[in-house]
Each structure stands twice: as structure tokens, then as C-alpha cells.
Amino acid sequence: AQTAWTMASGYPESSFFTQNIRQMIKEIEEKSGGKLKIDLRSNDSLIKLDAVKRAVQSGQVQIGEIRLGVYGNEGAMYNLDNIPGVATTFDQATKLTDAQRPFFDELFKKNGLRAITYVAWPGQGFYTKQPLKGLADLKGQKLRIYSKQTQIMGERLGMEALILPFAEVPQAFSTGMIQSLWTSAQTGTDVQVWDYVKHFTYTGTMHNKNAILVNERAFRQLDAATQKAVLEAGEAATKRGWELAKKASEERENVLKSHGMTIAQSPKDILDAIEVAGKGMVQEWLAAATAEEKAVYENYQKSLK
């Protein structure tokens, strides 16, 4: 019998996340011999990004892509890759994911979900009007941030951290309410950041992750061969996703350059300051974490050696 799934995701067609999903769907259809068809509704057009987890969990859609960081208030593990300095390179992000995977598998299983793919966001950096020569250049700047962790980081770097909804960013820039952004090259091009600032200083610092979740009940209803096809295509999407993320990072940096922006690697003292801020946050994270969560962090630290 043929099965049709509906998939919800929150990013536009041009985003590498969506391109990765498209490829995954193609592979699932081929590998399952056309037994499973997936109708992707990207760009919040069916379910808004923040609501995708619940939509998959409650069976409104069978499959969807979530941003793990959105659920930081539900469990400490969702926050680990949000802490500055925990995983600053793609390589570390891969190892962190491997360490987190068994924990997440268990957590999602309890919630009737199954993660088939993890994809990391490209690293982040500061968008500023003036070039950053050192930590002193950040002092007192009005920085738009988007989470508790980035707020703490901004404040410890001596900046005035301001939480604003994404949609208020352009207006806030043009009125001088904010002077700088801290985000990825992807988000920078999304808001066409070159209209407001001229310099992107890459710090790496963190690689948040997206995950593709499947409703476990819907998954169980597939025959064994199709289940295998889904899992394999999901695994392939994880591998491809990391490559696409790296490529997208370079591509987006080129887009920034083509609009006259200067790209620079961060000065050492800024990186050091971020690391110090991050270490403090890790200690706080560990203090609040359960034994299982702590074990994940320790396994990750071991895998780095």
C-alpha cells in the first residue's frame, strides 16, 4: 500500500535545510519504491517553526523539522549546544551530536517521537558597523540577541544586550535602537544585514542544531523495508546536512562579501572572553543538569581528547 505523509518545516526553499530535506524526500521515495510519498510544506506555510514539535508529537503531521534550541526551557539538553564555546567547530559539533544522540533518542522515544536527522547551523559572529580590533570595540554597543545564553554572553562582553523579535530587527537597526547583531551568516543574509552594517567578524562559538522528527506511530505503520528506507535517508541527510552547512556558510559569507561587507576572523581577546563566559555557563548548566545529562557532557569531553 502507498502511504502519504505531510511534512512541516520553517525555512524558505532557498535555505540549505530545505534543500537537504528535498533531497531526503527524493531518496525516501526512490528507496521505498514509491511506497512512501512526503509532501513538504516549507517556510512556515503549514505549521510555524516553534509549533512543529507538538504538531509531529500529536500526529497533526507525520514528520517535521524542529530547531532544538527552541525547547531549551523544556530540558537542559536542548540548551547544551546553545552555550557559547561548548562546540565551536563543525568537527566538535559532530562529536557533541554523537554524545547527545542516545540521550535524545531516549527522550524522543518517551514522547512518541523519533529523530532521524540532525543538522548543525553554521557558526556565528558579530555584525558591526566598525571593524572589531579587540574586545574594547564591543564595549557598550547595543547588541540584538535572541536567547538567554546569548544575553549572558553579550552582557559579559560588556555589551548592552537587547532581545528583539526577528521581525523588529530592520526597524531597530535603522532607528539606532540596535547597533550590532550576533548570529550566523545565514541569518545575516536573511535580513540583508549589509543595509545596516559593514563588518562580519566570525567567532564560531556555537553550532545550534535542527532535527528532523518523525511521529513514532506513523513510523511503525510503515512496512519494514520502508522504515529502513526512512532511517537510511535520514542518516544520509545528517551526513549531507553537515556538508551543506559548511558550504552554505562559505556561500553566505560570499554573499555578504558581494554586498561590500568585510569578513574577518575574531581577535583572540574576544574569543577568550567568550570562552570565559561560556565556561561559567557550562558550570551553571552542570549544576542544574541531571546525572544522565551530566554524563552526556562528560562523554563529549572524553571524545574530544
Binding site: 516553534d50 507538538r54 508529537q57 500529536s58 527552541v70 525547547y71 531549551g72 526551557n73 523544556e74 514522547n111 538567554k148 544575553q151 552582557e155 548592552e160 544586550a161 537587547l162 532581545i163 523579535p165
Partner: protein, 173 residues
């Protein structure tokens, strides 16, 4: 007796809705003041939750006040004998649809509790709390519609007609 209690209930919901509307303003004032003192306080989430509470608690009161917009162009021109069944149909449909909604919004609140869904911002509000408010507000609206349906069936005439605002509400100056 029951009628009096119900009317008080709709009114209480209305005042609660107004209080939450003031809550939006207070949350945002706190945000602006905090920013001037160099403290980061994100009130957008609190303001949003107050807005939802204000909207849903206000439904029944707004309904009884005739402020929910509808197109009574045709209805108002029908002869009385025909108008009555149409109004009964409207209230019946409204009662069924809103009761159905109340049921599913309550289910949503229970589900959010079971799923441990928490709001993503600084407030970290468990979603079942505001959603319970939504369920109460929608249920109150369903009760108001059923109340109205029974009233019409017992021979009364519709109590939800929109007042002609211009005529009744002259500026106080």
C-alpha cells in the same frame, strides 16, 4: 436566578479580559523602563500571553454586548416569522461549533501538560496554564451561545444586536 448568575459570570469574564489588556501595557512599560536602566527584560512573551487571555476571556462579554461583527443585512430585513428560525439556526450553529472548539482547546491544554510544552522565551511558561485560560474563555462563550439559544427557543428576542455606536456613544465633551 440562573440568569442572574450567568450575567454576572459574563461580566466577570469581561473585567478579567480588561485586566489582562492592562497587563499588556504594564508588561511593555516594564520592558521600556528596564531597558533605560540597562537591564534586559523581554516582555514580548508576557504581553502576548496577556493578549491571548484578554481575547478569550472577553469573548462571552463581547458577544452579549453585540460587539462581534456579523452581517445582519439580510436577517434584519426578513419578516419576523422567518427571522426567528434564522436567528435560532445561527445560535445553534454557533453553540455547536464553539462547544466543539471548547472541547478541543481543553484537550490541547491537557496535551500540553502531558507533553510538558513550555514557552520558548525568558518566561518559560508551561503552555497548559494560558491554554487553560483559553479553554475557560471559549467555554464561557459556548455557554453564552447556548444560553442565547435557549432564550430564543423560549420565545425571547435576540439580545446580541449591535448597538448603533454612533447614536449611543456621543463624545463626553
Amino acid at each position: 436566578m440562573i440568569r442572574g448568575v450567568l450575567n454576572k459570570f459574563y461580566e466577570a469574564c469581561g473585567y478579567l479580559a480588561a485586566a489582562f489588556m492592562v497587563g499588556i501595557a504594564l508588561a511593555i512599560i516594564a520592558q521600556i523602563v528596564a531597558r533605560f536602566r540597562g537591564v534586559t527584560l523581554d516582555a514580548t512573551e508576557a504581553a502576548g500571553l496577556c493578549l491571548a487571555a484578554s481575547t478569550f476571556f472577553g469573548l462571552a462579554h463581547t458577544f452579549r454586548h453585540g460587539s462581534h461583527v456579523r452581517i445582519n443585512l439580510i436577517v434584519s430585513r426578513l419578516p419576523a416569522g422567518l427571522r426567528r428560525p434564522v436567528e435560532i439556526f445561527n445560535c445553534l450553529l454557533g453553540a455547536v461549533v464553539v462547544s466543539f472548539l471548547a472541547w478541543h482547546v481543553s484537550a490541547l491544554a491537557l496535551q500540553s501538560h502531558a507533553f510538558n510544552d513550555v514557552s520558548p522565551g525568558l518566561l518559560a511558561m508551561p503552555f497548559w496554564i494560558p491554554q487553560t485560560g483559553v479553554a475557560v474563555g471559549v467555554t464561557a462563550f459556548a455557554i453564552a451561545l447556548i444560553d442565547e439559544l435557549l432564550w430564543l427557543l423560549s420565545g425571547g428576542s435576540a439580545r446580541y444586536e449591535a448597538p448603533d455606536e454612533i447614536g449611543l456613544d456621543k463624545p463626553v465633551a
